[in-house]
């Protein structure tokens, strides 16, 4: 398995202390690369005793790196993370949108600040434990979905540019999650049975509401139907997202209630009944901050598929490239619960073409102003 010519290729692996990045490092080492493991510390939650939640993860990186036989280091990007990811995250919530900090973290931290750090260590490539694949043919780099469709993470990687991808490796892309667990177990890695992390990294297992409330003042207000009938009170618009059912506390007869929109100016949360309520459906989206991994010409129109949320099935769409960073997406069938702030990501078969941020949502020619 070890390839002699790989020994002069230096690969920095971002190790989080989880099983995925542990196996990524192991696989690269087995393939004979000059592997360096680096733990990134992006968030400071150190308490007065000096303990932070990153400690245990770092200790797992130490154990695994020693088992594999690679040097390990730590790098601190707390400031960069705060400035580039967390501020954006709060701004988006403040304006009633539902941001995706993982997309931003990949764009600004993992594949920018961290990639630069890796390069300053003389690395040829940066590798991570993402479930995605990179293909390199004739100088053209493409990002493909991970083999494991349950775990595919290209959605979160949609902002990576061609240049970034040319320096990136995803060693796990050709494996399924159960296979990765099996490899970790077989190799006896310390993280083999470690629980997968859930939720947004800096919030971790903490209560999301409580966490957000520490940074943004929650302004309770009314829950109303679109016709202005009061149905109850909400705890603050930022705690809700379009299509959400849980946590509304509206009882009574008939279909369950869902969040269909937000009025930020008047601090009203719009609710309506029924999972398939027509107000939840839309068929046209304006996407901003668009990144096309292999470039597109302004004015170009084409058919492909799209995901507007992670784990959503791809839906067929027609894309019109409006400008360098804007696109108009027409959905062939109406899509439920499109949400401003979330990523729209485009695919041609297995190839991820890139993506952007959902900005404006339309049904036919009508702009859905109520979604926030």
């Amino acid at each position: 398995m070890s390839v002699e010519s790989n020994k002069n290729i230096r690969v920095v692996v971002g190790m989080s202390g989880g099983v995925d990045s542990s196996v990524a490092a192991l696989l690269l080492k087995q393939q004979g690369y000059d592997v360096i493991g680096i733990f990134m510390k992006n968030w400071d939650d150190t308490d007065e005793t000096g303990y932070c939640t990153a400690t245990e993860d770092y200790n797992d990186v130490v154990k695994v790196a020693n088992q594999i036989g690679i040097p390990y280091y730590s790098i601190n990007f707390e400031k960069e993370y705060w400035d580039k990811v967390f501020k954006y995250f709060l701004e988006e919530y403040k304006s009633g949108r539902t941001p995706n900090p993982d997309v931003m973290c990949n764009k600004e931290i993992k594949f920018k600040a961290f990639l630069e750090h890796a390069m300053s260590l003389g690395a040829d490539f940066l590798a991570t434990g993402h479930y995605a694949q990179v293909s390199r043919e004739n100088g053209k780099v493409n990002m493909l979905r991970g083999i494991d469709s349950n775990k595919d993470q290209t959605y979160f990687l949609n902002q990576l540019t061609h240049e970034q991808l040319s320096k990136v490796m995803f060693p796990l892309g050709g494996y399924t999650k159960p296979e990765i667990r099996a490899i970790a177990k077989e190799a006896g890695l310390a993280t083999a049975s470690k629980k997968d992390s859930t939720g947004i990294c800096f919030i971790g297992e903490k209560n999301f509401k409580e966490f957000l409330g520490q940074y943004l003042p929650a302004q309770p207000g009314e829950m109303q139907t679109m016709d202005g009938v009061k149905k109850g009170n909400h705890d603050g618009l930022m705690y809700y997202t379009i299509g959400q059912r849980h946590g509304l506390g509206i009882g009574g007869n008939g279909d369950p209630w869902f969040v269909v929109g937000k009025n930020v100016e008047e601090n009203i949360l719009y609710v309506e009944q029924g999972f398939h309520n027509p107000l939840l459906y839309s068929d046209r989206v304006i996407v901003s901050q668009v990144n096309w991994i292999n470039g597109k010409n302004v004015g170009e129109e084409f058919h492909c598929t799209a995901k507007f949320r992670y784990r959503q099935q791809d839906v067929p769409v027609k894309v019109k490239v409006v400008s360098d960073n804007m696109a108009e997406i027409t959905c062939i069938e109406p899509v439920r619960a499109n949400t401003p702030g979330q990523a729209a990501v485009f695919y041609e078969g297995e190839v991820c073409l890139g993506g952007g941020t959902v900005d404006e949502i339309y049904k036919g020619s009508e702009k859905l102003t109520y979604v926030g």
Binding site: I38, S74, S120, G122
Partner: protein, 379 residues
């Protein structure tokens, strides 16, 4: 890969002659020095000789030497022990902001117990001001703890002058001499100190051994509750092989101190002139006049400490910079923060090189070459 160890302020390799002294005490003479049988007696005898030898080298009486598990414990025992046992005389303590955490955190604990502390400021070179010390002294000051030589930048404090200043004051004077012991002549009478901490592993002795000198007659409380070892001052069975190795390391280091000082000065000069020859921009964080010769703390403008440390390690060069937090990331050294304030680029671009007995000029050449290569590659 070539490996160079320039991190001797962190720890040092144990010398062969030290290991030789220790080996028999792991199995041939394994007794407990507190036991009254022959196995115990032979160890007790060895322990007493070690204590006497160390005491003689620093101008102390053997009963003034208490063996500990190292510098941190020594600092704890001296600072907390003396303060607590003498609180009837007052509750005020004076120390500096650049102490080792063994002292700093002991003082913080004492503050929680109701003691009051004054932390002396240092100037940009890491020196305290005697005037500030004089002005901080109060009638109820019972302890002054000021380190001899700083472990991060090497700056040496005016210990004799402080001793002189405190001569007519009730306050007891403790100094942490852990980093200085290998390169400075230490005589407790000349220095006029009441307590002094030394650790073995900084002078090519084994880890987890040290001693604290506490002047005869000075009251201090033990930190550990247990048996009557060390005359009741430090409970727990003595680390006999460690202590014997330590005593040997002290003997060797005292003998070779001047020679080592000269070596470190040579390495230092060569390091600096090579950096200059290669046109590297740098600033030395130190006090030119008063410094430990084996510590060279250099700021490289435009670089980042994590990147530099990692790159040097990848080239086999062991150095340090700042302190690693529990998640491994480098946080600025509190010593540099005290010297430069908390908003200075030097906090994030300074590297500590610390020399030891085994280092050579060829190693300096190699390390400087690597630094030049790394800085040029990054630009």
């Amino acid at each position: 890969m070539k490996k160079v160890y320039f991190d001797n302020a962190a720890t040092t390799p144990v010398r062969k002659e030290v290991i030789d002294v220790m080996i028999p005490y792991f199995n041939d003479f394994f007794g407990n020095p507190s036991s009254i049988h022959s196995f115990g007696r032979e160890c007790r005898y060895a322990l007493d000789r070690a204590r006497f030898s160390i005491a003689t080298f620093i101008g102390a009486k053997d009963k003034e030497i208490i063996f500990t598990s190292g510098g941190t414990e020594g600092d704890n025992l001296a600072v907390k022990g003396i303060a607590r046992a003498n609180k009837d005389k007052g509750k005020h303590i004076i120390t500096t902001g650049i102490e080792h955490n063994g002292v700093l955190n002991s003082v913080k604990t004492l503050e929680k117990e109701g003691f009051e502390a004054t932390y002396l400021k240092v100037d940009e070179t890491g020196r305290i001001s005697l005037d500030e010390l004089k002005n901080s002294l109060r009638e109820d000051t019972i302890l002054v703890s000021i380190m001899y030589g700083n472990n991060e930048v090497g700056t040496v404090q005016p210990i004799k002058d402080i001793g002189e200043l405190l001569k007519d004051h009730q306050a007891f004077f403790h100094t942490d001499a852990v980093q200085a012991f290998g390169v400075e002549k230490i005589d407790v009478n000349e220095l006029m100190v009441d307590a002094l901490t030394v650790a073995s592993h900084k002078i090519n002795g084994p880890k987890a051994v040290g001693f604290v000198y506490i002047k005869d007659g000075l009251k201090f409380d033990p930190i550990l509750d247990g048996g009557h070892q060390e005359k009741g001052h430090r409970a727990g069975t003595e680390n006999v092989p460690g202590i014997l190795g330590f005593a040997k390391a002290v003997e060797v280091v005292v003998e070779e101190r001047n020679k080592n000082r000269e070596l470190y000065k040579t390495l230092r000069r060569r390091f600096i002139s090579l950096l200059n020859e290669n046109g590297i921009e740098f600033k030395i964080n130190e006090n030119v006049e008063y410094c430990l010769p084996h510590i060279l703390n250099i700021s490289f403008p435009g670089t980042k400490v994590d990147t530099m440390l990692t790159n040097l390690d990848l080239e086999g060069v062991a150095v340090s910079g700042g302190s690693a937090c529990s998640a491994g990331s480098i946080t600025p050294s509190h010593v540099l923060v005290e010297m430069f304030g908390d908003n200075d680029p030097r906090l994030h671009n300074s590297i500590r090189f610390s020399f030891g007995h085994y280092n050579t000029e060829a190693e300096v050449d190699y390390v400087v070459n690597q630094i030049v290569k790394i800085i040029k590659r990054d630009k």
